[in-house]
Structures are given as structure tokens and as C-alpha cells.
């Protein structure tokens, strides 16, 4: 009897405890450069702030849940939500026809304008995209602005430059790497607080809206969220949030009135979406993007071949220095190798391109080439050093007793055999470099993986873009691997 009472008591306690636990609302955002949408509070970096943070808190409160943040890169938010990593994505996400087809999007809660920013000195001559023939215009990749620039490339002959974040376009603009930036007015105005030297042109290039994105299966949750947003529009809560972040302007009352009246709101105004890839079949979309994927493949393979060539030359010099050099040479070269191998390639690329920009302004492709070459030279040098040291000392002594000089011993006896030992690991490294070249997209180099990402973002699916991308990488790497196998068989290196 007593035991039963205790057991019943524990069951009741457990039930009450479970019921009392609040449910969470997982939301995906990108805090990197994400102001004023989502950013780490400068005074408390472990906390997030921004108007999307406040709106999520509003939605969570309305749903009786606790918000739980999921850190996802901006360009992957929709896909991440679709696979269930989060319930909703909110991070300045643009309403587009592709997203409306692929996701359950909330009602638009903020209207933005795509605006052109130029250096102060160019404010008089670069007023519209048509004025930028032959010039470089940067923007955030996978956005409406990027789509506009791609069309402007064809219509006006400018060069579209894709960035992975919204900070570097403006810093590159003022130092002269770019001639203009096309992005949301929210971002343009925000960056002007910290980066001086550019003017925001008044002409509106296009009009867009921010929305929250949910998976299609979560449409009922989206509907509940729309009710909360509608109420927040009605009672001024949204206005207070936007005023708090200094982004409230005359465009917002019009949008709110339109939404509250139940009138449809076009995803984008000023961009002909009838030809968007989201409106055609997947195969038609693939055919449209194939030329750009092939062009990006050429960039990838050119960059990889040039980088690897330079890495091999540098690697040979470093290895030779470490085997034959004096103490100072050996020490310096060893330090170089350890530095390059011990720090991330991505960090090295950032330092080369952005970190050194005040002293030396390298073009993106050159910085990418150098970055890959300098990093891989360290790995190559270890392969060559090991291969050189693997040649039996007896052969080297035999060569010396025959009257060959040290240089001749290296050139005629040691190096040819070392090369054959090094061939297989070298080939591995080349294939690895081919794939590592995808990192250079952070330097605005439009290589194959980045182009695929843009394709997938615009299409709203990774299936076809990913398959095409993988096929192109294999088409580049398999012949190389085959050539290496043929050479190995021909030389038949004996272990």
C-alpha cells in the first residue's frame, strides 16, 4: 500500500514536470555580419540582438514557446529549415517566387529597396546600373540583388561580384576593389555608420520584402505566425521594433496597410521573375545554369592547375633547402611549413586578400592562386623531402665515387627516383586542392561550388545542382587519377 502510494506520487510528479517544460521554437539565423537582423550583442557577445531576434521572441511568446537559436550560414537557411534543423528561418530572408514555391513563407513583414552605393567621388557619374558598363559591382550572393546584377551583366556589360557576407562589399568599395555595391537599403545604411566614403544613390533599383521561412509541412505553424504578425502590425508592436533598430521608414506603413487589408504583395517589384528558374521545370533550370557551371569549372580547373604548378615548384625548393641547406635555411623553412600546415587555409586566404589590403591590394584570383599555392607548397615539400630521404644512401655514395658533383647526384640520381615515389601522394594532393579551391569563393572568385550554391539557392533545391556539380568535379579529377595510375604502372616503383 505504501509502495503504491510512493509510486503514484512519483508518476504525478513526473507528469506535472513534463507538462511544465516550455516548448521551444527553433529558429535559424546567421549572426555573422547580420546586423541589424541578427548579430551578437557587442557588449554581451554571447547574446543575440536585432530586429529579427525581437520578432522571433514575439512569435515564440505568441505561441507559448521559448526561442532557441540555431546558427546557420545565410545562404543555407532555407535548406536547413527544410531538412528540420529549425522550425523557422529569420535573418533578413528575402521573399522570392522560388522560396514561395519551395517553402511555407510568412507574410512579408518588412519592405526594403535595392539601392546602389558608390564612392563619394563617383556619385555624380554612377547613378544607375546602366552607368556601370565595364565596372565591378558587388553584392551578397544568392540574393535578389545578385540576380539583378547577373541580368545587368548581360544588359549593361557590368561585372557582377558575389560576396559571402555584406560587410566586405562596402569595405572593398571604399578601397577601390569595386565600383559599386547593390544591396538592401537596410544594409547600405547600416554599413555607413562604420564605413565612410560612399554614397547611397536615391534611385530604387527593385523592391523586396523580408519573410520568415518554414518547411512546407509546417504550413499550419506558419499560419499561426501570420496571425501573430498581423496583430503586431495592427497594434504597433512591429513598428516599435523597427523604430528601436532605426529601420522604420515611410515604406512600412504602406506595406502593413496592404497586408492588413488582405491584398496580395508581390515578392519582388522591379525584377522580371517570369524568367526565374523557380518558374520553370528542374531540367530546364539545369539547362539554363549549365553554361555558367561550365564557366565556373574552367575557373576551378585553371586555378587548381596554376596553384598546383606553383605549389610543386615551391615545394621542391623548400624540400631541397631542408635537405641540403644550412641550419638557418632549414630552420626558416621548417617554420614556414609548420605555420602553413598548422593554420586553416581559409584563414590564410582571408589574411592574403583582406588582411593585407591596406599594404598590397591583390586581385581576387591572384590572392586565391597564391593562397592555395603557398599552403599546398608546405604539404608538397614534406612529400618531396620524404621522397628525397627515401633514396638509399648507397646509391648517392656510388654516384659520388663515380665523380658526379652533389648537384648532379641530386639532378640525375636522387630527384628522378624521388619524383616517382612522390607521384602518388602528389596526385592525391592535386585532387584535394581541386576540392579545396571551393574555399576561394570567400574572396569573390566565382568557382564551381559557389556557382552551384547560387544555382541551388535560386532553384530551392540541391538535388540537380549538387549532382551536376559532383559530376563536373569527378570529370576533372578522374582523368588525373587515371593518368597517375598509368604513370605509376609504367615506372613500377619498387617499395
Amino acid at each position: 500500500m505504501f509502495t503504491r502510494a510512493i509510486t503514484l506520487g512519483w508518476l504525478v510528479f513526473a507528469t506535472v514536470t513534463v507538462s511544465a517544460q516550455p516548448r521551444v521554437l527553433r529558429w535559424a539565423g546567421d549572426p555573422e555580419g547580420g546586423a541589424p537582423y541578427v548579430e551578437a550583442d557587442p557588449s554581451h557577445p554571447d547574446q543575440l540582438v536585432g530586429f529579427d531576434v525581437d520578432i522571433v521572441a514575439l512569435l515564440a511568446s505568441g505561441l507559448g514557446r521559448t526561442p532557441e537559436f540555431v546558427n546557420v550560414r545565410f545562404e543555407s537557411i532555407s535548406q536547413s529549415v527544410a531538412r528540420g534543423d529549425a522550425d523557422i528561418g529569420m535573418s533578413g530572408i528575402e521573399d522570392t517566387p522560388a522560396r514561395r514555391l519551395a517553402m511555407a513563407v510568412t507574410m512579408p513583414y518588412y519592405e526594403f529597396r535595392e539601392v546602389l552605393s558608390v564612392r563619394d567621388a563617383d556619385a555624380g557619374r554612377f547613378r544607375s546600373l546602366a552607368d556601370l558598363r565595364g565596372k565591378s559591382v558587388g553584392t551578397l550572393g544568392g540574393t535578389i540583388a545578385y540576380e539583378i546584377l547577373l541580368r545587368a551583366e548581360r544588359e549593361h556589360g557590368l561585372r557582377a561580384v558575389s560576396y559571402d557576407d555584406d560587410v566586405h562589399p562596402y569595405s572593398d568599395l571604399v578601397i577601390g576593389r569595386l565600383d559599386a555595391v547593390l544591396l538592401d537599403n537596410v544594409l547600405a545604411e547600416r554599413r555607413q555608420r562604420t564605413i565612410a566614403g560612399y554614397t547611397i544613390q536615391p534611385q530604387t533599383v527593385a523592391i523586396g520584402h523580408y519573410v520568415g521561412v518554414l518547411s512546407q509541412e509546417n504550413a499550419p505553424l506558419r499560419d499561426r505566425m501570420n496571425e501573430i504578425l498581423r496583430a503586431a502590425m495592427s497594434d504597433g508592436t512591429l513598428e516599435r521594433i523597427f523604430r528601436k533598430w532605426s529601420v522604420w521608414n515611410d515604406d512600412q506603413p504602406k506595406l502593413h496597410a496592404q497586408v492588413l487589408a488582405g491584398q496580395p504583395v508581390a515578392a519582388v517589384t522591379g525584377l522580371d521573375e517570369s524568367t526565374s528558374v523557380a518558374t520553370v521545370s528542374r531540367w530546364e533550370a539545369a539547362k539554363r545554369y549549365l553554361p555558367s557551371l561550365l564557366r565556373a569549372s574552367v575557373v576551378t580547373i585553371a586555378l587548381s592547375c596554376l596553384s598546383m604548378g606553383l605549389a610543386v615548384v615551391l615545394g621542391v625548393l623548400i624540400a631541397t633547402g631542408r635537405v641540403y641547406g644550412g641550419r638557418l635555411a632549414r630552420g626558416s623553412l621548417t617554420a614556414y611549413v609548420e605555420l602553413m600546415r598548422g593554420t586553416p587555409l581559409l584563414l590564410q586566404l582571408f589574411v592574403l586578400y583582406y588582411g593585407l589590403a591596406e599594404a598590397v591590394r591583390l586581385p581576387a584570383f591572384v590572392a586565391a592562386l597564391l593562397g592555395l599555392a603557398l599552403n599546398y607548397a608546405a604539404y608538397e615539400s614534406e612529400i618531396y623531402r620524404s621522397a628525397l630521404e627515401a633514396i638509399p644512401t648507397g646509391q648517392l655514395e656510388a654516384a659520388r665515387t663515380l665523380g658526379l658533383s652533389e648537384r648532379q647526384v641530386l639532378r640525375l640520381v636522387r630527384a628522378p627516383q624521388a619524383f616517382r615515389l612522390a607521384l602518388a601522394p602528389m596526385t592525391n594532393d592535386f585532387v584535394a586542392l581541386l576540392k579545396d579551391s571551393s574555399l576561394v569563393s570567400v574572396l569573390t572568385v566565382l568557382e564551381l561550388t559557389k556557382q552551384t550554391q547560387i544555382f541551388a539557392t535560386n532553384l530551392g533545391s540541391w538535388v540537380i545542382p549538387g549532382t551536376l556539380c559532383a559530376g563536373l568535379y569527378l570529370a576533372m579529377s578522374l582523368p588525373l587519377a587515371g593518368l597517375a595510375r598509368r604513370l605509376e604502372r609504367r615506372w613500377k616503383v619498387v617499395a
Binding site: E397, A398, R400, T401, L402, G403, L404, Q408, V494
Partner: protein
């Protein structure tokens, strides 16, 4: 460690240096070949003098290479080159002989050792005896008056050993001097004109 090794070798001799493993036989050959530094004493080969306690100057080393050829215990052929290319490498690159002339002389040498039919073979395709003969041909290609050989019979069967002995006697008749390190008592007694014994780095 070698101590108090004093040895005079006359032209045309075949001197066998004998002793147990670790006695210093190979070290003696390596010192003569300029591969091993020594602290004290001197080595003179046909007018080229190596002084102990110092690095050998490059000109001296170059001169020494013309006087001394060495056949190593494990042949040490260049694995990436064919037999004929092994033989021709030094004459062409170290001594400036033209490729056709070097190939002609090389093939003659290989023929003299009965392996000209293996001229195109790579070292890993040669038998132990063939590799040894190619190694000897390679060492002789630069025409040294003194030939050093480290354990020349180590990998040979009795028939090949006898062939090697005959070959070495032919080299003697060519007025070459041979110094071999060996612990093959029978070979030394059959073919050496003189035997010296080392024990613990000193002449016994």
C-alpha cells in the same frame, strides 16, 4: 674505429682485407674512396693525397674520383636507369664523354663481363650476379687504376665466385690494382696476391 692501420699496395696487386664483422674492413675502403673522414694519418692514391683531420678539398676529391672506383656490397645500381645507362652516366656527365662514345665503351665493358644482352634491363630485373657485373662495369667505365670492392662474393654461388675470381685476375693483367674487403677465406686464398687481417680496427 680504426687505429694504426698502415698499408702499402702496389700496382697490379689484389689485396684482400679480411677480418670478422665490425673489424673495420668496409671503413678502410670507404676512407680510401673519400667517403669517410679520418682523424689522423694520410691516404695516398697514385699521387692524390688525403690528409686526416680535415675535410677533403673539392679539387682533391675530383682527382681522387678519377683514380678510385668502388663496387659496393649491395651493388647500389641506380634503380631508375637501365644497365647501360648506369654504366654511361658518369662518363657522360662527370667526364664529358659524348653519349655515343660512352655507349660504345659501355657496351664493350658489359660484353667483357658477359652481360651485354642485359644492357636494356633495369636493376630490379637483373640477377645478383648480373647486377654485380654491371656494378663493376659501371665502376670501370671511368677507367680508375684502383678498384675497391666490398664483399664481392657475398651473394654469389660457387660457380659465379669462380667467374668473379677470373674476372679480377683479368683486371690485374690490365695493370689495375684491386683492394677487396671480404671474409671469404677460400676466395682470398685462391685469388688474392696478399691478405691483410684486421681485428678491432687494427692490423692483426
Amino acid at each position: 674505429m680504426l687505429s694504426g692501420v698502415s698499408l702499402d699496395v702496389n700496382r697490379g696487386e689484389l689485396v684482400a682485407i679480411m677480418g670478422p664483422s665490425g673489424s673495420g674492413k668496409t671503413t678502410v675502403l670507404r676512407a680510401i674512396a673519400g667517403l669517410e673522414r679520418f682523424q689522423a694519418g694520410r691516404i695516398a692514391v697514385d699521387g692524390v693525397v688525403l690528409a686526416g683531420g680535415a675535410d677533403i678539398p673539392s679539387p682533391t676529391l675530383r682527382e681522387l674520383r678519377r683514380k678510385v672506383g668502388m663496387v659496393f656490397q649491395f651493388h647500389c645500381l641506380f634503380e631508375h636507369l637501365s644497365a647501360i645507362d648506369n654504366v654511361c652516366l658518369a662518363p657522360v656527365h662527370a667526364f664529358g664523354i659524348t653519349v655515343p662514345e660512352a655507349r660504345r665503351r659501355g657496351l664493350e665493358l658489359l660484353a667483357g663481363f658477359g652481360v651485354e644482352h642485359r644492357a636494356a634491363a633495369l636493376p630490379r630485373q637483373l640477377s645478383g650476379g648480373e647486377a654485380q657485373r654491371v656494378a663493376i662495369a659501371r665502376a670501370l667505365a671511368v677507367d680508375p687504376p684502383l678498384l675497391l670492392m666490398d664483399e664481392p662474393t657475398a651473394s654469389l654461388d660457387p660457380a659465379r665466385r669462380a667467374e668473379l675470381g677470373a674476372l679480377m685476375q683479368e683486371l690485374q693483367r690490365q695493370r689495375r690494382t684491386l683492394v677487396i674487403a671480404t671474409h671469404d677465406e677460400d676466395f682470398a686464398s685462391d685469388f688474392a696476391t696478399r691478405v691483410v687481417r684486421l681485428r678491432d680496427g687494427a692490423l692483426a
